[in-house]
Amino acid sequence: MLSDKGPVAKLYLSIIDDVIDSMRELFLDEGLEDRVLDDLKQLWEAKMMQSKEMEDFRRNNINPCNFVLQLPVNYSQTDEELTASVMIPTGQNVHSFPAKNNPETLATFSLPAGLAYPVQIPAGVTLQTASGQLYKVNVPVVVTQAPAGHQPLTQPTQQVTEWREAPAPPLAVVPPSMIPSQEMEPRSVASVTATHLPPSQQGAPLQQTPALVSEGSQPQQSQPGDPEVTVENSEPSSQPANPSMASCSSSQLLDFHIDTEEALTQAQTLQATEMEEILKEVIKEESDDVVIASDITPPQTDNQSEAVVKLDLDYNYSELSEIVQLDGPADNSDIEKEEEVPLEENDFLGIINAEAIKALQEVDESSDGNSISSSSDSDGADELANVVEEDPLNSGDDVIEQDIPDLFDTDNVIVCQYDKIHRSKNRWKFHLKDGVMCYGGRDYVFSKAIGEAEW
């Protein structure tokens, strides 16, 4: 699994590993296959990565993935077979590199943690994606770490420039060529989720570039080795087969998502021009492979013999989010999330109202009963007092629905242990320990935390 965000994700993954390992014996004792445990682990990791990605998306500023995986320009043309070639970011023309189009696929590539980049993946290596599908790398691929802090948004050209100027020779890891189409299909089912979503703008130019390139020449695939491998998203219309992948990772783990998006076309175009230097592609001589999902939903397998996958930092943010979801919460983009939040609030209010109604009914019943009983029991003044006191407890004196109903439906949560919690009037002081804080979509793990707040 490739994790995007550094230490926290690594910690989580190590936790997952520990748990799975310790469970292995128990599982075996129970008579369950080892495979079940492995599946569980895959599922768990996938969900975790997804949730982290979603959170990062929400945070916006999705740091452009440090890794750019570039595959040769659109591979849309399934007919053509491109030989894998590595594009060296020296301004060489994209055309010069034959590329194999990987059929549309969504693939998640995870490099083992702890790799020192750049990483070279020799040809013939079989990689396993998060979804369990196997990819065979027919072309030596080099994965490099792009400079961090890429801002994919709205500045594709600049970014491309950055990539170009990346100190470490950006290595592109083209999604290893897929193994025979059969495997591809299952792969296609697994949607590759981009860890970072570049803005749509960039995605679009990206596509256009390869489109242009493809027009002029055969689709090309970047060869492993240099710089970035950008995943192209093929427009359904023009380049159905263009796989697009956006990869971003700040950590050593990398998730590649290949997806076809219209938005990427533009990004591709822009990038294509500058991509010459950057374009890399891992192509496997055998076709099939990269299945590019043209839809957001589980990628459709449109296997193409030649797949050009470009990982673009300038991935379409929202589109990526749409693509991603293997499972888990349905919310994708920020917008959608925002929309959901009010829904949640509304639901919550609805719940409150329902409860209020129930409570009211109870009150009415009880108050009626009380007034009757009290009036019958008590005399004169007492009677009056009781009646007066009991009747009025209706919704007339509601607590204003708990002022400030922004009642912490926020996603900012801390789960931890406390050393000491102190309050003076309305000033609170917290001494916390051993916890995880989810703030602004990111997870922060701490062994000690001190806070102050005013109520």
Partner: protein, 187 residues
């Protein structure tokens, strides 16, 4: 004597304490888990619930007795108490708002003059008491009003009584006595 000659003394009510009963057993744990703005004190066996609108804090016991503190007026106190009962009701308890009673009212007041406490105490021997080593203020207890006035040498007063009216009356009662013992005058 009501020497309310142009007193125009500002008596500021700073705290009103009231109690009421819900006539039903309250599950403190439920309140602590589901209530909003609550502090659970299991060692004591009560739950504190704070309200923002009338800024009040309520101590809730499982017996259903509730003490409501922090309001700045009697009306506010009652309003807050009702709101509190309402929120308990929403949590699912069969709450009946009964036996509401203001127990204590605390007010502060400031004399436009300083007071000579020793003379004041001497003049009002049994009713006033002054132990400077224990407390820097002289205590004047008005039995019939059930009010207590604490007089500081600066002329500041704190008055506590069962209701606001008593408190006001107490201030009026004490004023002339203090007036006699003004600092610049007496000494």
């Amino acid at each position: 004597m009501d020497s309310s000659n142009d007193e125009a003394l500002d008596i500021i009510v700073t705290n009103v304490v009231a109690t009421f009963r819900t006539r039903c057993h309250l599950n403190l744990r439920t309140i602590a888990l589901e209530g909003t703005n609550v502090i659970y004190k299991p060692e004591v066996g009560k739950v504190l619930m704070k309200l923002r609108k009338p800024m009040i804090t309520a101590s809730i016991w499982s017996s259903g007795k509730i003490i409501c503190t922090g309001a700045t007026s009697e009306d506010e106190s009652k309003l807050g108490a009702r709101r509190l009962a309402r929120s308990l009701q929403k949590l699912g308890f069969k709450v009946r708002f009964s036996d509401y009673k203001v127990v204590n009212v605390l007010a502060v007041c400031s004399m436009p003059f300083a007071v000579h406490l020793i003379d004041f105490t001497k003049n009002n021997r049994p009713i006033a008491s002054y132990e400077p080593e224990l407390h820097p203020a002289a205590t004047y207890r008005i039995k019939n009003l059930k009010a207590t006035v604490q007089v500081f040498s600066t002329g500041s007063l704190t008055v506590t009584g069962p209701n606001v009216q008593n408190v006001a009356t107490a201030v009026e009662q004490v004023y002339p006595l203090l007036f006699e013992c003004q600092k610049p005058l007496c000494n």
